[in-house]
């Protein structure tokens, strides 16, 4: 057993940490939000230059062959800086879908472009009724000769407004909530029948509503039309959840550190408020929640590549529960211990709190994952058959 990073991982961590320290001070982030895309093209290019955009891809695809631990390192730093760029949407979700469900030709053609920062992707999956059920897909795909024709509407497509290609789930057969019958298609947002409406999300990132009406997808852009795309999608989503867990840990750590700093400097009643024992204990409870979360983010990272879907699901669900709970606790306490200043846009803690709150709502909140975990029998021991 070894919790240490390898030399290469350490190098990666140093360079990402440095990039975030240099480029993602709170004031810099404000400027990026005000840019036309709501994030920084310049910083995006820097991610490409230091190899982050191809990190999880095979070397043959212009990548670095990184695994979930490498992703964890990057996402944790991104969580501290509250990164705005479409890394999660493009590299983790989009890149993941291409890796796990794309054809070799598609991978060959597209992944190197992603790695170079020339192609942005988004995963268009959630629908009005689907909530957190990945199998709930009402958007339809019907065959017309060699092309598939898509109809439906997708919601809260993360960074869907700036994506060059949308990876769209649509039903090729079966009923709305069947596990079988889900296909995966790549759609050019400029294609006839596609309309998008972009908007900011609560945490300052971006998303879009996407409407699809008689959208024709050529054969080359079909990733999986067998109707059996769900397992690959689930695996990508599990990897994505592991990445979000790491991002959340970065955000939590930042909130904790900022709070400690504030307790040491804010004076009331003639002393630093950190001298009030009740606040000392509260800061310790925040640390306990943070360390529990960090441990589970690591557990998620080391399990994310697991092929046994049930084992993987259990671990990822458990991690998402812990992250959701720790994140809520730390976020609420960070604001509370700051008093009024924590409630303002001008202060960074509130932004971490908001991002943390949204991470809980992505791909299933803590309650939804708790239910999944309970359904899968928990983590330890076995229930006796009656």
């Amino acid at each position: 057993m070894d919790f240490d990073l390898t030399d290469e991982q350490r190098l990666l961590k140093d360079s990402v940490d440095r990039l975030i320290a240099d480029q993602y001070q709170f004031e810099q982030r404000k400027k990026y939000i005000a840019e036309p895309d709501g994030w920084s093209q310049a910083v995006w290019q820097q991610y490409a230059e230091i190899g982050l955009l191809g990190l999880p891809f095979a070397e043959a695809h212009g990548g670095f062959g990184g695994g979930p631990v490498e992703t964890m390192i990057v996402m944790e730093a991104f969580g501290r800086g509250l990164v705005l760029e479409p890394y999660f949407a493009t590299v983790i979700l989009g890149g993941g879908l291409l890796r796990r469900a794309g054809t070799p030709t598609q991978q060959q053609a597209l992944l190197p472009q992603v790695a170079q920062g020339k192609l942005k992707l988004a995963f268009a999956h959630v629908e009005r009724q689907s909530r957190y059920d990945l199998a709930d897909v009402a958007t339809t795909a019907r065959q017309d000769g060699a092309v598939w024709v898509l109809d439906g509407a997708k919601s809260v497509v993360l960074h869907g407004d700036c994506a060059d290609r949308l990876l769209v789930t649509a039903r090729v057969s079966g009923d709305r909530r069947d596990r079988m019958g889900i296909g995966l298609f790549m759609v050019d947002p400029a294609a006839a029948g596609v309309s998008r409406r972009g908007y900011p999300t609560q945490d300052g990132l971006r998303a879009a509503e996407v409407a699809l009406s008689d959208v024709r997808v050529p054969q080359d852009d079909t990733l999986d039309d067998s109707g059996g795309a769900l397992p690959a999608i689930e695996h990508v989503v599990d990897e994505a959840i592991a990445a979000l867990c790491a991002e959340a840990v970065g955000a939590m750590q930042e909130m904790h550190e900022t709070t400690l700093e504030y307790l040491k400097t804010r004076q009331q009643f003639g002393r630093p408020i950190g001298q009030f024992q009740v606040l000392q204990h509260r800061s310790v409870d925040m640390l306990v929640a943070l360390e529990q979360a960090r441990s589970m983010a690591m557990f998620a990272a080391v399990t994310a590549a697991e092929q046994n879907a049930t084992e993987r699901r259990r671990a990822i669900a458990a991690a998402k529960v812990q992250i959701g709970r720790s994140g809520r606790h730390i976020g609420q306490e960070a604001i509370q211990l700051h008093g009024g200043i924590g409630m303002t846009m001008e202060y960074k803690v509130g932004h971490h709190f908001k991002r943390m709150t949204m991470i809980d709502k992505l791909f299933g909140d803590a309650d939804a994952h708790l239910e999944t975990l309970a359904r899968l029998g928990g983590l330890f021991g076995k229930a006796q058959a009656a």
């Binding site: 908007y199 009740v278 009024g340 509130g350 709190f353 949204m358 709502k361 309650d367």
Partner: protein, 398 residues
């Protein structure tokens, strides 16, 4: 022990309910239900309707437009008002400065200010907190120098709620630098139009604009605007803070939220059933309802106890009501986010006025902002830590 209300009390409750539902415009009550911000006009309109009936200021002395209600009636009035999503009368006017003027103001001040305050002809804001003086309010530094028949005020207030709407501000200012910190403070009324006052907005994390910084740069205020005696302001401030008693728990408002959550959770579907049939969700909601019922009973006990209490004296039970009431209000905003699911993400506040269709269900828009915004209820009005300090002091006596 008997929990039943008298027929007269029940009749009063029904009368209040009817009045709130029939007289306060639905559009305003809908905004309250949805957690949307009220405009200045909404608040004033609503308060004037209440005032026309003598119901804006029931807690004031009868002579100045108050009602000689029993504590039970006061409770029913608040409960029905909150459940009907009627905006409460402007707190700064009705629970804060009004009673202070009625109790400590001179005859001229009462004549001039009280009717206007009751009718919201004057919109008040509260200038207590300062950047360096939040929980430790008595350390405040905004200075008022008595020069001739004027006070000259210099300094800064912060977190001033709705200063952008306010016509007047009531302030705590330091009038004696040498005295012990509580003993050098005065309570003064300032017209917001006086030269030298600058209001700067502070945007809160939900994107809303409700708080401000207020700067005073050589602001000259006639000394007839001083309340009571110079350097006695701390006593008046304590009186003011002790006035807010049972309403603070906001039980009625929380009941309205529970009802709303149930209504929405019956419409929102998870898979093939309404969310309200999801055992995890409804147990979570029921658990909060248990806490809320307990709080309501506690509040009623405090109400019953008030009958025997001296007016203007703080009841430590009000700290308990605030502690529990604030946490319940916050939990309910979390449940509302649970209802909304992935649609909490779109930030739709700055789409105001652009007339674009709402993304997702129309009740989704305010879910996250309300959750963010409600973190304030455990911070303002004496943070929950300070409330615990007060109770601890009372029960331990150390």
């Amino acid at each position: 022990m008997d929990l039943a209300f008298t027929p007269e009390e029940i009749a009063f409750r029904e009368e209040a309910r009817r009045f709130f539902h029939s007289e306060i415009p639905q559009a305003i009550r809908d905004k309250v239900a949805e957690g949307e911000g009220l405009t200045r006009d909404d608040m004033i309109t609503s308060q004037r309707i209440l005032n026309a009936r003598g119901w804006a200021t029931p807690n004031w002395p009868v002579q100045w437009g108050g009602q000689d209600w029993s504590p039970v009636q006061v409770y029913m009035y608040q409960d029905e008002m909150q459940q009907a999503n009627v905006p409460p009368p402007i707190g700064f006017n009705v629970t804060m400065v009004g009673p202070v003027i009625a109790q400590f103001g001179n005859e001229q001040q009462k004549q001039y200010f009280l009717p206007k305050t009751a009718n919201a002809d004057i919109f008040w804001c509260q200038g207590f907190s300062e950047p360096g003086s939040g929980s430790d309010l008595a350390s405040l530094r905004t200075r008022a120098e008595h020069k001739g028949d004027k006070y000259v005020i210099n300094g800064q207030k912060i977190w001033t709620t709705l200063a952008q709407y306010a016509d007047w501000i009531f302030c705590l200012v330091r009038t004696d630098l040498a005295a012990k910190k509580q003993e050098g403070i005065s309570f003064i009324l300032v017209d917001m139009k006086t030269p030298g006052i600058t209001v700067r907005p502070i945007v809160t994390i939900d994107g809303g604009r409700e708080v401000n910084e207020v700067f005073f740069d050589n602001v000259e205020v006639p000394d007839e605007n001083l309340i009571g005696q110079e350097n006695k302001g701390w006593d008046y401030a304590k009186f003011l803070l002790g006035n807010e008693r049972t309403g603070i728990a906001r039980v009625g408002a929380s009941k309205a939220k529970v009802a709303r959550i149930k209504e929405l959770a019956s419409m929102e579907r998870v898979g093939d059933r309404p969310l309200i049939d999801d055992p995890r969700f409804r147990e979570k909601l029921a658990a909060v309802e248990v806490e809320l019922k307990a709080l309501e009973m506690t509040q009623l006990r405090v109400v019953a106890d008030e009958r025997q209490r001296e007016k203007g004296k703080q009841n430590p039970a009000s700290s308990i009501l605030k502690l529990k009431g604030s946490v319940i209000q916050q939990q309910l905003t979390e449940l509302l986010m649970d209802v909304v699911g992935p649609y909490v993400l779109p930030y739709q506040r700055d789409f105001d006025g652009r007339n674009e269709p709402v993304i997702g269900p129309d009740y989704a828009t305010e879910a996250a902002p309300m959750y963010f915004n409600y973190r304030k209820v455990s911070i303002y009005g004496g943070s929950n830590e300070i409330q615990r300090n007060i109770v601890a002091k009372a029960i331990l006596g150390l």
